[in-house]
């Protein structure tokens, strides 16, 4: 082959190489476009919404009645509904999740440890609509059996199933950060005659605290964004209450409720789901960033 032919081949090849890299770059760019798209769409429709409803009413009023006259657009009951369910879920899931993590990281051994983790992960793989079904058909009747004043739709049953759902998230992140504590640190404590539970409670858990906190916040953000179980179990009545046995409407449940009905594009109901969606998006974003910040800032480094 002459050198001229070589040069021709290599220039064709260079061009093809560039083309491939550029097109793969575009694939990667899709995620940036998706992020910008989400922010743009939420902001754009919300601005339309705030043209009709003042932000003062949206964030200040405590009444949410968007679908019938007289209309009220105060988002606070939806936020309290979401928070009531999420906090309830966390109260159940935190001790259980941390306990499971301590067990898998410090106690379980051999094949049992190898089997235990994937089996618990199954809980995270079950679709949320299944948890919704379970809440309606099992958890609510269970609660009604023990307490008199449990409504058919109630926050407590949603909290319980969400707790089961986020359990593997908490357990696996806590497990990782408990394992990251070096053996030398634990051995030092054992050498002083400390019992295993004392080593775990006073040495291992405090050392892994940043990871544990991050897992809690991540679980909280999951709970806030959860839709199907909340819609099925907690119902669709905006209700500002601290009573977990009453029905509440979460932000996600409102968005789902409006979407299930026929809504005209450009109507105020259509725009209102984007305003609620914006609040939801900002809350989960804040949680995720906080959890990443805690991991970065407070992670203990061992040399």
């Amino acid at each position: 082959m002459t050198s001229r032919q070589w040069a021709k081949i290599s220039s064709v090849q260079r061009f093809r190489e560039k083309l491939v890299i550029k097109s793969l770059f575009i694939c990667a760019l899709i995620s940036v476009l998706t992020t910008l798209g989400i922010i743009f769409i939420l902001l754009e429709e919300s601005l339309q919404f705030f043209r009709h409803i003042s932000p003062l009413e949206f964030f200040g009023s405590t009444e949410w009645a968007p679908l019938f006259e007289p209309r009220h657009f105060g988002v606070i009951p939806l936020i309290t509904g979401t928070l009531l369910i999420s906090f309830g879920a966390l109260i159940i899931a935190l001790p259980l999740g941390l306990g499971i993590a301590i067990y898998t990281a410090e106690y379980a051994e051999g094949w049992w440890q190898k089997v235990l983790k994937p089996v618990l992960e199954i809980l995270a793989g079950i679709p949320s609509v299944v948890y919704g079904y379970f809440a309606v058909t099992n958890v609510t009747p269970f609660l009604q059996f023990f307490f008199d004043d449990v409504e058919i739709f109630n926050a407590a049953s949603a909290s319980i199933v969400i707790a089961i759902m986020v359990l593997p998230t908490i357990a696996s992140i806590c497990d990782d950060s408990l394992r990251a504590v070096p053996k030398a640190v634990k051995d030092g404590a054992y050498a002083l005659g400390t019992r295993k539970s004392e080593v775990i409670l006073h040495i291992v858990v405090p050392s892994a605290l940043s990871g544990i906190l991050a897992s809690f916040i991540l679980a909280f953000s999951r709970a806030i964004g959860e839709t199907m179980a909340v819609t099925l179990a907690a119902g669709g009545t905006p209700n500002m209450t601290l009573n977990p046995f009453q029905g509440v409407q979460a932000m996600t449940a409102y968005i789902a409720q409006v979407s299930l009905g026929d809504i005209a594009h450009g109507s105020i109901e259509y725009q209102s789901i984007f305003a609620v969606g914006l609040v939801l998006f900002l809350m989960t974003m804040a949680m995720n960033m906080l959890s990443q910040f805690i991991v970065k800032r407070y992670a203990r480094k061992y040399e």
Partner: protein, 315 residues
């Protein structure tokens, strides 16, 4: 008398001799015994507590699966799988939901694999240290934490309204692809990262270009890991209901989609619809639907485990 180091001094500043340290007095022996007993009890309580937390979670899983199986087993029949939905519980089936889910899953697979693996290859193998690349990384980690319902709203505004795709399988699959893309990108990058550098060096040494190296050597070596991530992403897409509800996927569909522009329903939506009705008969149908859905997910997950065990160990 010279002062002894504080470690050797005890209560009331009494100074102990070496003999005393080896043979503590009765009082401190008793205190030690009580303390040791308390510590032993605490230890036992702690161990019991964390063991019961683990067992509680396992029992919950067991109860969840058995109770749903028992609720749904009576409604599960060939008629249930081959009938269209109906107002009458006795005649209702999930044929359209099964086909909808298969359409949705396979199209999501098509889009998400193409773009997701492409993005992962670019970020892991080809990207330089340009500013835009760190922006891409940031947006992927952001997207991984966005609730699924928000993706539904994006899909509603962009695919259903702006691109006028309507409530079609195509709009649903595109939305689901965006939803699972971060999962596929993160899993694929892990798989690419675990391919040893010596393979790349060997290819470069023989004069292969960057893309040739990736295409012919790195990517084939990473296929098992990528496939595992892709399958898990598809399982996620088949179980999600929230984005489809926001898109306005139909709950009553008495036909099987024949083109990508047809309306559709999916298993999770059908299950939601039946669960939200008050009648017991429909709840049983929902349980039967859940069995079918979990069966699909079980196939996906077994495939992932099989791939990992077959090819995962080889390096």
């Amino acid at each position: 008398m010279t002062e002894l180091p504080s470690a050797l001094s005890v209560k009331n500043h009494q100074v102990m001799s070496g003999q005393d340290l080896l043979m503590p007095d009765r009082e401190s022996q008793a205190v030690f015994k009580v303390n040791a007993k308390r510590r032993r009890i605490k230890e036992r309580m702690f161990t019991t507590a964390i063991l019961s937390a683990t067992i509680a979670a396992l029992l919950m899983l067991l109860y969840l699966v058995t109770s749903i199986t028992m609720d749904g087993a009576s409604s599960l029949s060939w008629d249930f799988v081959s009938n269209f939905p109906s107002r009458f519980a006795a005649k209702a089936g999930i044929k359209s939901a099964i086909f909808g889910s298969i359409w949705l899953g396979s199209m999501t697979l098509f889009f998400a694999v193409f773009f997701g693996v492409g993005a992962a290859v670019y970020l892991q193998e080809l990207a330089g240290k340009h500013r835009i690349n760190s922006i891409i990384e940031l947006s992927i980690s952001t997207l991984a934490g966005v609730p699924s319902i928000i993706y539904g709203m994006l899909g509603l505004a962009v695919f259903v309204r702006f691109m006028a795709l309507g409530r079609s399988v195509l709009a649903g699959a595109l939305t689901m692809s965006l939803l699972v893309m971060p999962i596929i990108i993160i899993a694929s990058r892990e798989a690419l990262k675990s391919v040893p550098d010596s393979i790349r060096m060997a290819a470069f040494a023989l004069g292969a270009s960057r893309w040739q190296t990736v295409r012919d050597h790195v990517l084939p070596a990473a296929v098992p890991g990528i496939a595992t991530g892709v399958i898990l992403a598809m399982a996620r897409a088949m179980g999600e209901a929230a984005p489809l509800i926001i898109l306005g996927a139909l709950t009553y569909v008495a036909f099987v989609p024949t083109s990508i522009f047809d309306g559709f329903t999916a298993l999770p939506i059908q299950i939601y619809n039946w669960t939200s009705r008050p009648q017991q008969a429909f709840h049983d149908l929902a349980a039967a639907g859940i069995i079918v859905l979990l069966f699909f997910l079980l196939i996906c997950n077994s495939a992932a485990i099989y791939i990992r065990s077959k090819w995962g160990a080889k390096k």
